[in-house]
C-alpha cells in the first residue's frame, strides 16, 4: 500500500514538474523557418499518375518562434508552389509579422486555396504548454517530404 502511494506521489511530482517546465521554461527553436520542399522527380511522379501532396491545406505558424514560411523547389521544372511560381532550385521565404489567418490562392490544392494561420507568441504558461504539446505531436506525425 505504501509502495503504491509512493509511486503515485512520484508520478504526480514528475507530472507537476513536467507541466511547470512546459509552462515556464522559455521556448527556444533552432530555426524560425517552416520548410516545405518539392523533391526532385515530383513532376515526373505526377505525370505518371502518382498523387503527390507536399503542401498541406492549412499551415500553422507562431510569431517569434516559427514565423517564416520557406518553400523550396528541388524539382527539375518550374512549379506553382503556395502563392508563387518557383524556378528549379529556387527558394522563397515569406516572413509573417502579424498574428492572423492568411488565405493564398494555390493551384497545387484541390480547393485552390491555402490557409496560413499565424498565432501570437505563446506568452502565458498554458499557451506554452499547448505549443510544446502540438510541436511534439507534429514531430510524431511528420509526413515524408517535409522538414
Amino acid at each position: 500500500m505504501r509502495t503504491r502511494s509512493a509511486a503515485l506521489v512520484t508520478m504526480a511530482a514528475v507530472a507537476g514538474a513536467a507541466l511547470a517546465w512546459g509552462g515556464f521554461a522559455p521556448i527556444h527553436t533552432a530555426s524560425r523557418n517552416e520548410v516545405f520542399v518539392i523533391p526532385q522527380g515530383t513532376w515526373a511522379r505526377r505525370m505518371s499518375g502518382d498523387k503527390v501532396e507536399i503542401l498541406p491545406d492549412h499551415i500553422r505558424l507562431t510569431l517569434g518562434l516559427r514565423d517564416i514560411l520557406v518553400l523550396r523547389n528541388r524539382d527539375e521544372v518550374p512549379q506553382i508552389f503556395g502563392p508563387t511560381l518557383m524556378m528549379p532550385g529556387q527558394s522563397f521565404s515569406l516572413p509573417f509579422a502579424q498574428a492572423s489567418e492568411y488565405q493564398f490562392q494555390c493551384t497545387a490544392h484541390a480547393s485552390g486555396q491555402m490557409t496560413i494561420v499565424v498565432e501570437p507568441y505563446p506568452a502565458s504558461p498554458w499557451a506554452r504548454i499547448r505549443w510544446r504539446a502540438r510541436e511534439l505531436l507534429s514531430e510524431l506525425h511528420q509526413p515524408a517530404g517535409t522538414s
Partner: protein, 193 residues
Amino acid sequence: MSASRFAVATLSLMTAVAAGAAAAPAFKAGLFDPPRQAPDFSLQGTDGHELRMSHYRGKVVLLAFGYSSCTAVCPVTLATLAAARRELGPAAADVQVLYVTVDPERDVPARLRAFLHNFDASFVGGTGTAQQLAGVRKDYGISAQKLVTRDGYAYSHSSFTYLIDRGGRIRALMPYGHSPGDYVNDLRILLQE
C-alpha cells in the same frame, strides 16, 4: 602599433561589424533565392507607348495584376502602392508601378488609365489580347479565373505584388494586405542597392 592601439582598433572593428550586422535590412516581403530575371513582355501601355518590362531597367518596379472593375482587392492594393510612393518622397521617382490587366475585354487603355490615375498619375497599365495576357500571366505565375456573377462577370486573381530590382530581377513578392510602410521599407532597401 602598440598593444593598446591594436586593442582599440580591434574593438572598433568589432563594434562596426556588430553594428552592421544589427542594421542589416530585413525585407517585409517574401524573398526569392536566387532571384530570377523578370520575363519581358510587350503590351499596350496606358501611357500611349508599348509597355515592356525591360524599358524599366534602372528603376525599381512594383508589378501587380488585376482589373479596373475589381471592387475588393485592386483598389486596396493600388491605394497602398500610391501611399507608399508618397511616403518615399523624391525617391519615388525611381519607383515605377506597373499594373497588368486580366480583363482585356473591358480594360481598354483609356478605361485602365482613368482607373489608375484615380490612385497615382505615374502608374502605367498594360493590356493586350487575351492570348498575350495569358502568356504574361503564365510567365509570372499569376492565376486569373473568370466567374459569372449576377451583374455579368468578375475575376478571382492573384493578389500579390512583385518587387523587381533595378537590374530587372524578381527579388520579392508582397502578399496582399501589407501596409504602405512595409512597401516603403522594402523599396528603400532596393533603391539603395
